[in-house]
Amino acid sequence: MEQYLPILGMVLIGIGLPVVAIVFARLLAPHRPGGMKGDPYECGIESTTSVRERLSVRYYLIAVLFVVFDVETIFLFPWAVQYQVLGLFGLVEMVIFIAILLLAYFYVIKKGALKWA
């Protein structure tokens, strides 16, 4: 178990630091709440509208599509590195993989998910 001791130490430091910071801030800082101080802000700039804004669902769609095609490249890289070893078999497997993604792409187009207007 000894090799795990440093991990225990890290856990203790990890818990200890924020506890110490919060407790000392409470003890040392003057506590004078006011109207403006309770406002949400970003980088010191005053907020102009409510934070609870509605986001377009398209953001979600774009994110998902991005992930799908991003992951595709992640799989392409190791295949490219091992191309000589995998040979024709690897090529066939990759074509199947791309074909499935292509099918998904056409499905997305047909469903109208890429129509922005």
Binding site: M1, V85, L86, L88, F89, G90, L103, Y107, K110, K111
Partner: protein, 525 residues
């Protein structure tokens, strides 16, 4: 390292049913944007059912081609028909009798759910073409999971199945109940998946392998003192994770809401196929990976407690339900409790609490009785849910027990078949449920300190008779609740008939199924 293409392709050959189903799923998905009317959707549903039926034929063709060849596939997996290693060194997927029988159960459950739901999807206005594609993908995931003998493949199969089923549960987008069900099921399912993964990572940390055969060897060789705590924690996490997935008390809280809110055909699929696959996972992990006496001693009593709690809590709360789907949900929790008895019996034997000669019998009986119970329960539960779908008509939810009133007068045949399903759920002789319970009771009665589970199960069966027969009383002794004709369609009738034939055939002529199932035990090393 050279890459052995030939062995890889040979391995893929044994996945033909799954590969075929994947193709079916993609074809359904590609066709779905072009399907706009009811006729097209019905064709898609029938195509999906036909595709799954072809997969079932392929599965048995594959099996028939090698029947009798239960020779050692690898030194590590004796008794398996084939061990897929995918150039990995240790079996990642196993094709054995256990896998083939349970995959057949999942496929039958998928076909029944597809057939029973064709009209329901129209009534609920949720019949978008993608539904059947997602259902087929769930079946593929379940089949993959059943064969898996490595933590990695187990997790891939489990997530493929679970993600698809989360979608299916929330398919009725406009229904609050369905949304709530999907969210609860998703959150708790993801949480359970996380616990399972955590347990896997701890087991990997203690033994240095993600493979169940590797785990088995490492544990047989003995573990150092430092690894023992990790393994105990790993077992604890995995018992909890599996407990969530099979819906055992106290990890069952999502079940009634998810079962009630999901479209009824999805409920049927969850109660039969998903549960079967989750049980297969639990059996593989604990009977294969953690089969060393020291570890078996740890998980056996945990599952013993889960079994006792599940059957008691499930049955007692089911008594109070007025909604049939909720009642069947609690009943399915109770049935998980019964089925866990088989796992407990095998565990007690592995832990060394049962002396030879009963020991090997208890291990074998424990494993095969769980498989048998899954086969029996799949037909019975699917049949009961199909009859519930019959009551769903335009304007009537049809999921209250009162909706069954007077069914015997309006549709005597259907009422008789429903009675068969209810009696089978209660475990009355001449039905599949009786044969299943009989083996489970026999397995815990081998000894090992868990005979009290059989006593508790018998008491619980008496309790369960009350609420199953309550439905029968409504059907036979009360006047019809409404005049609207039942939602009879050829496909639904076919599903009910198939389920009834299965339930009665196993109950009256159990010999073929028993032979098939007892062949699965020796194959699970």
């Amino acid at each position: 390292m050279t890459f052995d293409t030939a062995s890889y392709v040979r391995d893929l050959y044994w996945l033909i049913p799954e590969l075929w189903l994947t193709l079916v799923g993609f074809a359904l998905l590609a066709a779905s944007p072009y399907i706009r009317d009811g006729a097209g959707r019905r064709i898609a549903a029938w195509a999906s059912a036909a595709g799954q039926a072809v997969a079932l034929v392929l599965l048995f063709a594959l099996y028939a081609g090698v029947s009798g060849v239960f020779g050692p596939a690898t030194p590590e997996a004796p008794g398996a028909i084939y061990a897929m290693q995918f150039a990995h060194g240790r079996p990642l997927l196993l094709i054995d009798g256990f896998a083939i029988v349970l995959k057949a159960v999942v496929l039958v459950a998928g076909i029944l759910a597809t057939l029973m739901g064709i009209r329901l999807l129209e009534t609920e206005r949720i019949g978008r073409g993608e539904f059947h594609a997602v259902l087929v993908f769930a079946v593929v995931g379940a089949m993959f999971l059943i064969s898996s003998t490595d933590f990695i493949t187990i997790f891939v199969g489990l997530e493929t199945m679970s993600l698809s089923v989360y979608l299916l549960v929330g398919w009725a987008k406009d229904s609050r109940k369905s949304n709530e069900a999907a969210l609860k099921y998703f959150l708790l399912g993801a949480f359970a998946g996380g616990l399972l993964l955590y347990g896997m990572s701890l087991a990997y940390g203690a033994t240095g392998t993600t493979n169940l055969f590797g785990l088995q060897q490492a544990l047989a060789a003995g573990t150092p003192e430092s690894g023992r705590w990790l393994l105990t924690l790993a077992i604890l996490f995995m018992v909890v994770g599996c407990g969530f997935k099979i819906a055992a008390v106290p990890f069952h809280v999502w079940t009634p809401d998810a079962y009630e809110g999901a479209p009824t055909l999805v409920t049927s699929f969850m109660a039969t196929a998903v549960k079967t696959a989750a049980f297969a996972m639990a059996l593989r992990i604990f009977l294969l990976g953690f089969d060393a006496p020291a570890q078996a001693a740890q998980w056996t009593w945990l599952f013993g407690i889960l079994a006792a709690l599940s059957m008691t809590v499930g049955n007692v709360i089911a008594v109070l339900q007025d909604n049939v789907k909720r009642m069947l949900a609690y009943s399915s929790i109770a049935h998980v409790g019964y089925a866990l008895m088989g796992l407990v019996a095998a565990g007690a034997a592995l832990a060394g609490w049962i002396p030879e000669p009963q020991r090997s019998l208890a291990i074998e009986l424990g494993q095969s009785s769980v498989v048998l119970y899954m086969v029996a329960y799949a037909f019975t539960a699917a049949g009961a849910f199909a009859v519930v779908i019959l009551l769903r008509r335009e304007g009537i939810e049809g999921d209250r027990i009162d909706d069954f009133s007077g069914m015997a007068r309006r549709a005597p045949g259907t009422a008789a078949v429903m009675l068969v399903f209810l009696l089978s759920l209660a475990g009355i002789p001449a039905t599949a449920g009786f044969i299943g319970k009989w083996w489970l009771f026999a397995s815990v009665l081998q000894g090992g300190g868990y005979r009290w589970l059989a006593v508790l199960a018998a008491l619980n069966t008496a309790v369960s008779l009350y609420y199953y027969l309550r439905v029968a009383v409504r059907m036979y002794m009360e006047i019809p609740a409404d005049e609207l004709p039942y939602a009879v369609t050829p496909s639904l009738t076919a599903a009910v008939a198939l389920a009834a034939i299965g339930t009665l055939a196993i109950g009256l002529w159990p010999e073929p199924v028993l032979r098939l199932v007892s062949g699965t035990a020796q194959l699970l090393p």
